[in-house]
């Protein structure tokens, strides 16, 4: 019986430790994921590395330009969140939109798409193995539906935004139900820690 109580106590402590992110709106993922690293292709066709935006807060989001609602909605909320930040902080935040649909999303198509969503956004894509490696690194994946008669197909992808601090450490996971204000508050706090 004594063992049982000890085991239950230990379990309780563990559970309490796991729900200790009440002060962030997003989910605290410090220590759960590796630091930001990738090699992809930018909208100008040139290679882009994680180091190119070092020193900034980076928000990584996987999607595709034919995405009917989730992607434009998320990107619009990120733009609003960034616009709510004071000017000096705004210049320290980058959105990295990674298209996981290289079959349809050419760099040109991606360029005209991301232009809708403000100045702080970078469109990125790559070969399927590159994209698989990056999504595996962040414990996410994507998949393709069977194309319909017009060749349109749906793509399943992560609906969350990964936030990395200026050092490239994974810090927050923003679920799709966060408002721009909540995202903005989290970003301001992270920027203050810089």
């Amino acid at each position: 019986m004594r063992y049982l109580l000890t085991a239950l106590l230990a379990l309780g402590t563990l559970l309490a430790g796991c729900s200790n992110d009440a002060d962030w709106h997003g989910k605290d993922i410090s220590g759960l994921m590796p630091e930001l690293a990738f090699e992809l292709t930018g909208t100008n066709g040139e290679p882009v590395h994680a180091g190119d935006s070092a020193g900034h807060l980076r928000m990584l989001y996987f999607g595709f330009t034919s995405c009917p609602d989730v992607c434009p909605d998320t990107l619009a909320r990120l733009r609003m969140a960034i616009n709510e930040l004071p000017e000096p902080q705004r210049q320290q935040v980058d959105v990295l939109f990674v298209s996981v649909d290289p079959g349809r999303d050419t760099p040109e198509r991606l360029a005209s798409y991301v232009d809708f969503f403000g100045e702080r956004i970078t469109g990125l894509t790559g070969t399927e193995p590159q994209l698989r490696a990056l999504s595996k690194r962040y414990r996410t994946t994507f998949g393709y539906d069977e194309p319909d008669e017009n060749g349109n197909y749906n793509v399943s992808h992560s609906s969350a935004v990964y936030v990395f601090d200026h050092k490239g450490q994974a810090r927050l996971l923003l679920r799709p139900d966060l408002s721009p204000q909540q995202i903005s508050e989290d970003l301001a706090r992270l920027a203050d820690q810089n």
């Binding site: 049982l4 559970l15 989910k27 993922i29 994946t141 998949g143 793509v155 399943s156 992560s158 609906s159």
Partner: protein
């Protein structure tokens, strides 16, 4: 993807490959070297190998990819790691193989083994074993814990290995081949009680997942599914896999134990005592 790709690991784990090879290797060597009257028959050997291969398969083939990104496949993975695989391994009665290595390596009375033996006895206390068995399922399916475990590679492997080790301990206790009449092994009644009591909370949890209207495990939504599937369908299938097959396996376990207990009730004077012991009390 070609057929071979489906057999290759999605996330290579040297520990898992080494552990499976070691288990099969040690088993094989013991089979070749042990005295013929101790040697398990082909049925038991096949049962053991299938058990090990199932556990290996769900961790080190393409199955693991789908387990990481579909809730119901993940439940299938844990069904194998915590129930089916260890169930088969324990049922195959590898006790003669363990005794062979115990003898060959001269492990009896080694002082460094004492803490391990103590820990083993604590974990195999029937109350602790049953609480641990159900507790681990609840722990890893606690939504906040589950979310972290699916996001962190280290936690993910800790989760799967803890489920496998606990499954082996639990089913080994249940199918301990030594007769409770002649050894200190747990009585059949207590074993059946453990199985019945362990089944109830699992059924409650599974039914709760099935009948939850909102998304309980949104990590699969957040991190993308392996293919586009309605989240409700995924959760429903996962709940069913948590609810029904484990309950069925508890009943199957109880039936197997009942059969053993009934054999124990009938005295069979023609079977010599030494043969019965060599078989570990299993006929």
């Amino acid at each position: 993807m070609s057929g071979v790709d489906y057999l290759l690991p999605y996330d290579f784990s040297p520990l898992t490959v080494a552990g499976s090879l070691l288990a099969l290797g040690l088993y094989g060597v013991a089979l070749l070297r042990m005295p013929a009257h101790d040697r398990p028959g082909p049925g038991r050997v096949v049962t053991f190998v299938i058990g090990v291969l199932l556990c290996y398969g769900v961790m080190q083939t393409r199955f693991d990819y789908y387990s990481q990104y579909m809730f119901f496949v993940h439940r299938g993975q844990h069904l194998v790691l915590h129930h089916l695989g260890p169930f088969l391994i324990a049922l195959s009665n590898p006790l003669p193989v363990l005794r062979f290595w115990h003898r060959t390596l001269g492990l009896a009375g080694k002082p460094w083994l004492r803490p391990l033996a103590w820990l083993y006895r604590v974990l195999q206390h029937p109350v602790i074993a049953a609480v641990l068995f159900v507790g681990l399922i609840y722990f890893w399916l606690w939504p906040a814990v589950h979310f972290d475990a699916m996001l962190s590679r280290d936690l993910y492997w800790l989760m799967n290995w803890s489920m496998l080790l606990d499954g082996l301990l639990f089913w080994w206790l249940i199918f301990d081949p030594r007769s409770p009449a002649t050894t200190a092994a747990l009585g059949y009644g207590k074993r059946m009680l453990m199985l019945a009591l362990a089944a109830l909370p699992q059924m409650v949890l599974g039914a709760w997942i099935v009948f939850s209207r909102e998304m309980v495990y949104d990590v699969y939504e957040v991190c993308g599914r392996a293919w586009p599937m309605a989240p409700e369908t995924d959760q429903l299938l996962g709940g069913l896999l948590t609810w029904i097959p484990p309950a069925m396996m508890s009943i199957l376990g109880i039936l197997i134990l009942l059969r053993r207990a009934m054999h124990g009730d009938t005295p069979r004077p023609h079977q010599s005592r030494s043969q019965s012991l060599a078989n570990g009390g299993v006929s």
